[in-house]
């Protein structure tokens, strides 16, 4: 009689266990890092049919967000401007820019382009699933800025998704809105900072935006809901 299993097999179970543990642990870590909206959704930066620069229009030219997204504080849906909003200016400005050719094709009847009258298909960046009902106006009119969800769009040459927009991320703010609350006047000011706080209060104790947010939360009776029907119906 001899041993059926060679001696090295004695260590095999331990090795397998260690390897399996490492693989499983690695998979969990990798999955929880890479397969979550934080990684999958944030940072999405598709190229658009017209390379519209928010930095130029907002930061340099000083356009208000609502010039183009005109219903954002009125409707749940934040509208993307229709072609004639662009055309209002761009039939006079940057008339020859090749980047704007798609717009001219659609808007200038003289070009007789086959696309005339058709809309521009912008690539959607910020998307919540169809079972999530996010209402822009509810947030903007209660002191949550564009910036809280979209980031510093005014600094973006090309718009990308800054935050995960996952439910957990939404809940962070719904459970502690003071970090994001600001005076209504500052909602469209993406540059809002601690320095702006003093404009709105004489209370020396309020120094940071969060301090002011706490005050606003109390004063405006802001109590964001966290139950399902707040967003799902």
């Amino acid at each position: 009689m001899a041993n059926f299993f060679p001696r090295w097999t004695n260590f095999l179970p331990l090795k397998i266990a260690i390897c399996a543990g490492a693989v499983a642990g690695g998979a969990v870590l990798a999955f929880s890092y890479y397969a979550t909206p934080k990684t999958l959704a944030a940072g999405y930066m598709p190229s658009q049919p017209i390379p519209f620069s928010h930095k130029i229009h907002v930061d340099q030219l000083g356009l208000d967000c609502r010039y183009c997204h005109s219903f954002v504080d009125v409707a749940g849906h934040s509208n993307v401007p229709s072609n004639n909003t662009c055309w209002n200016c761009h039939q006079h400005v940057q008339k020859d820019s090749p980047k704007l050719q798609p717009l001219r094709d659609r808007m200038d009847p003289l070009l007789k382009h086959p696309d005339f009258g058709k809309p521009i298909e912008w690539v959607r960046i910020h998307k919540t699933p169809d079972y999530v009902k996010f209402d822009h106006s509810a947030h903007l009119n209660r002191g949550i800025s564009c910036q809280s969800c979209h980031g510093r769009v005014d600094q973006m040459e090309v718009v990308y998704q800054q935050h995960s927009l996952s439910m957990g991320w939404c809940l962070e703010c719904h459970n502690a809105p003071e970090k994001h609350l600001r005076p209504l006047e500052e909602v469209y000011n993406l540059n809002y900072s601690d320095a702006d706080v003093t404009k709105y209060t004489k209370d020396a104790g309020i120094k940071t935006t969060e301090d002011l947010g706490l005050k606003l939360k109390e004063h405006w009776q802001i109590a964001p809901k966290a139950s399902c029907a707040t967003c799902h119906h």
Binding site: M1, N3, T9, N10
Partner: protein, 184 residues
């Protein structure tokens, strides 16, 4: 068996019955051996004492495993239900008074963790799985799982001596005494 020189594992002696094994074990114990074992096809009662073994410490593993399970159950339920995201269901309170509803899961996790502690604790204590062992090289050892009773005394034991131990085993009634050597 090859003739090359090999490391000796120890002696393996067969005994005729459980009672013979039992009596022999007492003698081996009294002779002061440490690295030895009795092999039988079923657990022979009282052999622990006959071999001078202490009670297994496995219950402690299981106790702590179980407590960990209870704590996990409670923590998982309480933290997720009361701390992180309290939900209102059937007007049940969202505070410490809701804990009775968590008892079933705390209980189940206690059992589950205890079970795993038993399994892994046992394997650790038995030093299994170990598929290769010198004893498997013995030509008669396979009967240990059928109908034979063996005592194996390891060469590592300080009292071991090639001749003395063999003689000792013969004296206490061992038959078919075999010098088991390690293979490689």
């Amino acid at each position: 068996m090859s003739t090359t020189r090999k490391r000796v594992y120890g002696y393996l002696a067969e005994f005729s019955s459980a009672s013979a094994l039992y009596k022999a074990a007492e003698k081996v114990r009294d002779a002061g051996f440490r690295k030895w074992d009795c092999h039988s096809p079923y657990p022979v009662h009282g052999l622990d004492a006959a071999m001078g073994m202490k009670r297994s410490i496995l219950p402690w593993f299981v106790f702590f495993g179980g407590m960990l399970g209870t704590a996990t159950g409670f923590g998982l339920a309480y933290v997720t239900q009361v701390e992180i995201y309290p939900t209102v269901v059937q007007a049940k309170p969202v505070n410490i008074f809701t804990v009775p509803a968590f008892f079933p899961i705390m209980f189940e996790l206690t059992i589950l963790f205890s079970g795993f502690a038993t399994l892994f604790g046992l394997l650790a204590l038995m030093k299994l799985p170990r598929l290769n062992h010198p004893l498997f090289a013995s030509r008669q050892f396979h009967r240990a799982t059928d109908d034979a009773f063996f005592i194996a005394v390891e060469a590592r034991d300080p009292k071991f001596s090639a001749e003395g131990t063999r003689k000792f085993l013969e004296d206490i009634g061992g038959k078919s005494i075999e010098l088991v050597e390690e293979e490689d």
